[in-house]
Symmetry: D2
């Protein structure tokens, strides 16, 4: 019964993500929690906190036991966490009560749930990083190829001055370089083991607590936070903020592509487009629209994650459970957005004819600023602006192109004033600089 199309068989190929989805499956969650319990026992056995033979038995069982997720549901419905039921099932299935009693020794549910989450988030971030890099590099190649391709720059939807397709692409990719750089910070803040016991003091482990936590961190290839983060959720919220930032930048790419593929504009073609149930001619920019939809959803879910930082006292059920409602889908949506982008970008094909047509709307008004600066060489700039304003009005009224009117009135205008190469300014260079930076990642 899917609450979201991400979990739907119908929408699986539209919005699902098999690779990251596998990390958020119920069985993956159970598996990860078992892994944490097993590693904890092993570490505690090695340090003599629990009998080594029990530790070995628990660790082995943690790898071998099959615990049915659905079997945890009834008790989870009462306790709000699956760990009491998991520990019960673990102990009972072990059929060795003398060892089983040492399962979950001194830990609390939140330790297990949060550490098991971190194990999977570590893998999620590897996948996201791979896709982010691939997307950025694909944008780099596209920017390089289109560096000298003139097209109309648009502000407020209106043609402004000429720019290059390559630098438009660079604006999609540049933020991704920044997001990639920040991923290291997010990872460093986030990927910690949690082991703090009932109310964050690790009291049930006596003096060994910090050493056990450090060893557990090492065993699980996570970092040791050096304390409790049960109720300091800024690091989890930091992941949400990063995911939101990434999908926001991809959302701009999506929005721009929807605009560039509009009928009557058609400046780029996309590889895959969507058909209609009734209109045979339709080629809808489905993938860009998905990027827009995902970006919006992420912004909404991010409010929940940022609000969950107001986590009261030593554990706040309302705040913690709110994280569960938002974070998994944020990871999956970000993964999906990156997968879409990775596939989409190499298929973006600029249409130079359409770009030329939009650049020159028949009136050449896009050259108005350049003409102003050309005229300002021989007259005060305010006068030049006024003169060009008048010429623009005349062009609109008479349908005569601005360049033609300009040359008629100012016969000694340099030939290059209206040349695309001049008009694009720094755009080609900036496109190439981005391409180089993307290659260097």
């Amino acid at each position: 019964m899917p609450a979201t199309p991400l979990d739907s068989a119908i929408y699986r190929d539209l919005l699902g993500d098999a690779e990251v989805g596998a990390l958020f499956s119920d069985s993956a969650e159970v598996r990860a929690m078992l892994l944490v319990e097993g590693a904890l026992a092993k570490v505690q056995g090695a340090m003599g906190v629990i009998p080594e033979v029990s530790a070995q038995a628990i660790h082995r069982a943690s790898l071998e036991l099959q615990i049915d997720p659905a079997g945890l549901s009834a008790a989870t419905g009462v306790n709000a966490v699956p760990v009491p039921a998991l520990v019960d099932a673990f102990r009972s299935q072990m059929q060795a009560p003398e060892h089983a009693q040492y399962v979950h020794w001194g830990a609390t549910s939140q330790d297990i749930v949060d550490t098991a989450l971190m194990l999977r988030l570590r893998q999620v971030l590897v996948i996201l990083e791979r896709r982010l890099l691939a997307t950025t590099k694909a944008l780099g190649a596209l920017a390089e190829a289109g560096a000298d391709q003139p097209m109309a720059g648009r502000t407020y939807g209106q043609t402004a001055t000429p720019t290059s397709f390559g630098v438009v692409v660079a604006a999609w990719g540049q933020p991704l370089i920044g997001h990639h750089a920040k991923l290291a910070v997010v990872r460093g803040d986030l990927l910690h083991v949690s082991l703090s016991g009932a109310a964050g003091t690790l009291s049930a482990m006596g003096d060994d607590g910090p050493a056990i936590r450090a060893s557990l961190a090492e065993a699980l290839n996570l970092a040791d936070p050096g304390g409790s983060w049960h109720s300091t959720r800024d690091t989890v919220a930091g992941l949400a903020a990063w995911l939101t930032a990434v999908t926001g930048s991809l959302g701009k790419l999506g929005e721009d592509l929807v605009l560039m593929t509009q009928s009557g504009i058609g400046e780029v073609a996309l590889g895959a487009t969507g058909g209609s149930s009734t209109m045979p001619q339709k080629a809808n920019p489905v993938q860009p629209s998905l990027l827009g939809a995902i970006a919006r959803q992420m912004v909404g879910l991010n409010t929940v994650m940022q609000g969950a930082v107001l986590h009261r006292q030593q554990r706040d059920g309302a705040a913690w459970i709110a994280e569960w409602l938002s974070l998994p889908q944020m990871c999956l949506l970000a993964a999906r957005a990156l997968a879409i982008a990775e596939t989409l970008v190499p298929q973006i094909t600029p249409n130079p004819q359409a770009m030329a047509r939009n650049l020159d709307d028949g009136l050449g008004l896009i050259h108005a600023e350049a003409l102003t600066f050309a005229l300002a060489a021989t007259m005060p700039r305010p006068k030049a602006q006024e003169a060009v304003g008048a010429l623009c009005a005349r062009a609109r009224d008479t349908g005569t192109p601005l360049p033609e009117l300009a040359r008629a009135n100012h016969p000694d205008l340099a030939a290059s004033v209206f040349a695309p190469a001049t008009a694009m300014g720094q755009a080609p260079a900036e496109a190439r600089a981005f391409a180089a930076a993307a290659r260097a990642l």
Copy 2:
């Protein structure tokens, strides 16, 4: 692979809702879309728009065909809507091309998807209303029973003046009466058939379009919108706003219960509480915490739905798909919150001893306002406020109760000044007025 605990086998009993969940299952969605296609054909057959024999064949098939949701996924991944694949599967499974060609005659994908959604939302609203009424009535009974039970009113967490438990309950329930009243408005705005064709003009149905839409509405027991609502999403956003309002009011109930059950306060006991994996004494207010978590999530998702009202042109993929990401889980979360409340409220048991203890903190400072007004009968009120302020300070310094100090200084004070019945003011009456209103629903 659950993107949300609502779809998880582990968390099913904590956050899932079987009854409403069944309406959002993949097969329910397919079934609803088939129902719409079948009803459309039947109506078109009756009006002679398509051959009646084909209409009957399609209608019959719409009830009998089994279409596998997963089989729609690949094409849905391309087209962003499942309808083209559904129509293909329908036609192909019918094995009667002469009739099958009339499937989906003149409609567009959005007509089918949105109408199929409305069919299910109608049922969702019936369920929600039932739970809302039950919760409100249970609160009414609780308010009635507790109308004369004194407890400390608190503002900013500080005891303010005495109030009654019943009126505290009334404050939880009063808004629900309002939400129930508004449900009729939401239903009236929302539960429309959608039948507007490719770009909202219904052009493929010729002059019969409006009559077909009206008949389809009647056949499906939905209202006829009299036009297209493909791109006017205020009614769908209105549902989201209502769901958010309902869960917000339940969230206040949850927050208040978390505060009232605090160790050291303990003014109410709850029926079911959650245990800890390591602390045998724990009785966590799990259900109230869930209400808080759900309310937060709804506020976040509501931003997506309100933002989706900015639906561009005649169909905006980004805005429309964003609705799919948010609305189903909003319905499920609201349903779950109401189910929790319906179960929780009858189990709320006030603890008069604890209430009395919090009312009288040993110093009786909660009576300061009442004392002021009593003294103001014989001295100017500013002077009375000053005098009582001084007595409060003395009470704090010496540990002597304020009433005792007051009587020592003002021997002729009326006996009733510190009596709970006086002190509760209108609280009992307001509690009973709410109870009566809840009974009358």
Copy 3:
């Protein structure tokens, strides 16, 4: 020191609203609070709760006293509410302590602040309604005038089938009719006097409390809530939801206008457009962009207001103060959006030539659906869809218009297939129906 451009001298003409702004000025707030205190005393005097002569003195003073807002600041910084300082100033300025002691008798700060807010919101809603009606009626006139004006319907930015300009306008206006209808509900829920005393029980007024509240409501022309709404904020949140819905619908108008005015599309011209500091030709759709910006801001602020429904216990400082941070600017932004729309709509001028150009992209692919249904009269529809799909591809490949190819292959095609009047379907009728509904408001 403006925290927002709404309070800035620079941006006053862009984002400010003088008429509604006057209602949120500091002096208007002080004036409204004085009005409430004055009316309360008058009512209490008439009922014999306080001496009538004092009541008259207070009431007169409430109309005459000049209290400097800035003088309240220091104490407000300590108490979080301006009322203690206001009452002090009131009493002190009256210079008649024998009467002044009866100021604010039995009320609490929240009573005064909330009632004073309602007095101003009543006026705000009158202004908003006037603008909403004017905008809706202007849209009605525009829809009527453009009912038969063909233009390209667009889904996903792609031309879909022909529609009419009038029905595009109707989609902007139709939701406004709904919002107007709901305004009565919002008003009925919202515009209550608040008079509940320290913790909501009105205890300091004895048995007279309800009668005093009823009389106060009558005196102030507000409704009597019949109880306390100190901590039930659903009605205030309901106003926020309504304001968000209104600006969301105006946001769609804004988004569509930005798209329709794009260079190369140019389907409408606007009256006032913005210039650039460096590009003489620019005519930016500033007003539509403002509608988009305001809609986004409102969605964000609405999260705060909906979250503030989780108002704990009998008064929750955090939740209540959060309302202050969001609600005034929401009112001002909604007012500004409506003022923009009221001015903008009458200046929208359709450009039939541009509409025709976008309708016929040279290939006539927009007629593909209509052609399918025409062919389906003589062949199975799937075959017709296939045939039209092939013709569309041929049209794209060869640059030959689809109608020409169609007539060549199907010489007996009806002449009307490609005629705009047929193609627009129900659009003209729906445009006129909206226009009639708008006129009838």
Copy 4:
């Protein structure tokens, strides 16, 4: 006419921030824009792009001219940016048209507005950092002082196990250390000059563009972005995310303090508290409530800023103007929250008696986990949990303290089992570790 209490004379001392507010005043904005225009001319003069004598005249004028913010309003209302009006006023006031024509040479409005914003944000961040450090250090001192002070740890509002006041304080402060560390990243990403011309290509400056930008950056003590960031708003959104994270962490501090100061809990006293207009005894935790209110508002506004990353094409009026509506108040609110925290933290006074009382609720149930582990030394842990669970129930039923029951049943229990020093586990050490880290900042 204040749209927000931040701009109100009444609420100035409650929510305003004079120091940061001065940076967002209208005159500060005009001053900053003039500074940018002046520095641009100076740089362009030095590089020979404009005549040096004109550059000097412009630079001098930029420091001397007085431009009335209100005078820019009418044109800003038309153009949506104040720069055209500012440039006009600048040129006209210079009264030297031969020089004035070189004002704003090759720049666009967004260059000036964004760079002027960065100049002020640089100062804002200096102020915020100072307050953040002071708050963190004050928390460090408080954590150190309270490291060994036992108190009840609470999860779900229920006493869980003992913890120390110092580690509770550390949980407030630890995230601030992280936020401080990230401030360097935010600064590095954000504080760039913007100089990209009309559509981001800097074309009007010819080949000198990049060198001019680099020099301008140096002159203004900002970084050179090496390209255009007109439409890549991730860095501005990154500031919003950081501000939200900071106020979120302060919001937890606020929420915890509201809970700790509750009547009946009273574990800490605050320096300044708020009074009531009618209740002489009230001492409301106003400052903590403000922190909660501000955190909520920030989360809402952050949605706008994150959504504004979907900035279309080369300039998107709706997205850009949405930033103006949110970012200034976010800066001011974050500044205010830090100012509150800086003042509040040194005034937090723990109440050891109240902490002891809440630690020992008369039944000592808080020791249940510790007792389990003590018993588990001699019996299997599940049996120990069961035994302790039974003892807890007995304690509740009979009112006999758990320690007493435990000793009666298990006479050889170690004396230290119920000792606070043991029970606090790692809490004192973690409190000291935080204190050391705070000192080291």
